[in-house]
């Protein structure tokens, strides 16, 4: 025992430790409190500035008079449509890839390399996907500037997310479910089909919904691949250009010649986008809660 420790009286030692404890608590709690305040303020700000313009016409009509009046209906439709196209591509491909990676791929260097490449792809800036989409879909496959090109580009961007979350969900299913089925004479695919995928489904769905939320808010991947500044009509085929909420917001906020006039519409657009994204996040959250309650085997 060192001399410095013994020379401090026990009561003072205890007080010092209490002080240290309080400092530690503050260091951790204050940043969190600041962060929460910031988020709350952002919501409050958006609602205060955006709520005024939101009414039935705003949600159901096209923009009019050089976008200074009217609504954002084509943007809502465009965003939903392009997100749907992206999912039609990325969900089946992503789930198949995840099943292969977690159940069939041999545990070797190549598999590990592919898995870490997928993780890296999830971190690539979305503008890079946008440029790649131009090269591959718009000019390469000649899909032109269209819902299809944008949807596929967003799908490519989604894919690593969906593969990673789906693989995680599949790996969380206990091995005894597969083993039990195979000991009864089930083939590997039968064991996966009946005893793994149904139980991984909620986890996979949560991942998909989070990807949806991200996809809806993306501007860069659609910027060069199909989104347009202004159209009065909603797209009726996949080969048409479309309007989208995030791009409309960008236009109103920075590209319009009467920025201060359209500012409330910009806030209204932001609010609608935020509410749609939050709705998807909320669904994902509820599913996660339910699964936590239903996964009795994890107890």
């Amino acid at each position: 025992m060192s001399t410095t420790e013994t020379s401090v009286p026990p009561a003072r030692k205890l007080r010092r430790r209490r002080f240290g404890d309080n400092v530690g608590f503050l260091l951790l709690a204050v940043p969190l409190a600041l962060f929460v305040l910031f988020i709350l303020y952002m919501f409050f700000y958006l609602f205060r500035n955006g709520l005024g313009v939101i009414n039935w016409q705003f949600l159901t009509q096209a923009p009019t008079k050089g976008m200074t009046e009217g609504g954002i209906w084509p943007c809502i439709v465009g965003t939903v449509l392009v997100t749907f196209v992206s999912l039609v591509f990325s969900v089946p491909v992503g789930i198949c890839a995840a099943v292969y990676l977690s159940e069939y791929a041999p545990a070797n260097f190549l598999t590990r390399a592919i898995r870490s490449a997928i993780r890296s792809l999830a971190g690539i800036p979305s503008i890079v996907y946008g440029l790649f989409g131009v090269a591959l879909f718009v000019t390469g496959l000649k899909f032109g500037l269209s819902v299809l090109s944008s949807g596929l580009t967003l799908g490519l961007m989604n894919l690593p997310w969906i593969i990673a979350t789906a693989e995680e969900a599949i790996n969380a299913i206990p091995g005894s479910f597969r083993e039990g089925a195979m000991a009864l004479g089930a083939t590997k695919w039968e064991a996966i089909r009946h005893n793994v995928l149904p139980y991984a489904f909620p986890g996979i769905l949560t991942g998909v919904l989070l990807a949806v939320a991200r996809t809806m808010g993306e501007t860069a991947p659609i910027l060069f691949t199909g989104v347009t500044y202004y159209t009065r009509t909603i797209p009726t085929s996949l080969s048409q250009k479309f309007m989208a909420l995030p791009y409309h917001l960008f236009t109103l906020a920075t590209q319009h010649d009467q920025i201060s006039t359209v500012r409330p519409i910009a806030f209204g657009t932001a609010l609608v986008l935020l509410v749609i994204v939050l709705a998807f996040d909320a669904v994902a959250f509820v599913i996660r809660l339910r699964v936590a309650g239903a996964n009795k085997w994890q107890v």
């Binding site: 083993e179 039990g180 089925a181 195979m182 000991a183 009864l184 004479g185 089930a186 009946h194």
Partner: protein, 252 residues
């Protein structure tokens, strides 16, 4: 040597560099309970899991020697592993019901093997549950989740699930190790009944259990078969010093 349902001949097994089973040879008679006992890590579970080739699922497994069921090698090219596992059922150490209803747990096997229509499968489920002494306890709650059952009931459910595809052989891998004494007693009663219709092989590290349920007994140590014979002979006059030491509790 008795009439043989399963013949193990010079069986060697490696997991990678690890030599787990060494020149194991013995014959398991039909319609009897054969216990494989031995201290932890002696390879008894591995031996059991070789009989229905569950070790195939583990990477780096290598086998020499042979196991024959009714004279037919289980490693032959003509042996279909799916069919083998249907004929050789298994109950695991930890009860592993699927997170489905009681009914669906037992119907799973007959469904994947397409053993008849809806009514046939319902009948099979009832028969299997009766066979596993569980029917009276669950007949009014067949649609409840299998996880609502007690541990002992879950293990009997897993036994019913294994019986539902009409196996010839039932392998039990320390089936009572996670159960309380009362549930264990009920499971042992079931094991003794099963030998009327099936060839039963049970792995256990509990020698009293081996004495209570088995007709034949194999003693395994460090991957080697030390002794095999009638249970009463093994327990009353063991031939090998190591068997005697194990039975008298010098190690275990």
């Amino acid at each position: 040597m008795p009439e043989s349902k399963i013949t193990v001949e010079k069986l060697n097994l490696w997991f990678g560099e690890n030599h787990v089973l060494k020149d194991v040879s013995f014959s398991i008679p039909p319609n009897a309970v054969t216990a494989i006992m031995g201290p932890s890590g002696c390879g008894k579970s591995t031996l059991l899991r070789t009989v229905n080739r569950m070790n195939d699922l583990i990477l780096g497994t290598r086998v020499t020697g042979d196991i024959r069921i009714d004279g037919q090698s289980i490693f032959a090219d003509t042996t279909d592993v799916i069919d083998l596992r249907k004929r050789v059922g298994m109950v695991f150490q930890k009860p592993n019901p699927f997170p489905k209803s009681i009914l669906e747990n037992v119907a799973f096997g007959p469904r994947i093997h397409r053993m008849g229509n809806h009514a046939d499968i319902q009948q099979r489920v009832e028969q299997a549950l009766r066979h596993a002494n569980l029917w009276d306890e669950v007949k009014d709650r067949l649609h409840d989740n299998a996880f609502s059952l007690s541990g002992g009931q879950q293990q009997r459910l897993c036994t019913a699930r294994c019986l539902s595809v009409e196996p010839e052989i039932v392998l039990l891998d320390e089936p009572a190790s996670a159960l309380d004494p009362h549930s264990t007693a009920r499971l042992e009663e079931l094991i003794r009944q099963l030998k009327q219709d099936y060839t039963v092989v049970i792995v256990t590290h509990n020698m009293q259990q081996a004495a209570r349920v088995s007709d034949w007994c194999a003693f395994l140590m460090l991957g080697e078969l030390v002794e095999f014979g009638r249970t009463e002979n093994i327990f009353t006059k063991p031939k090998d010093r190591r068997t005697e030491d194990f039975l008298t509790g010098k190690f275990g």
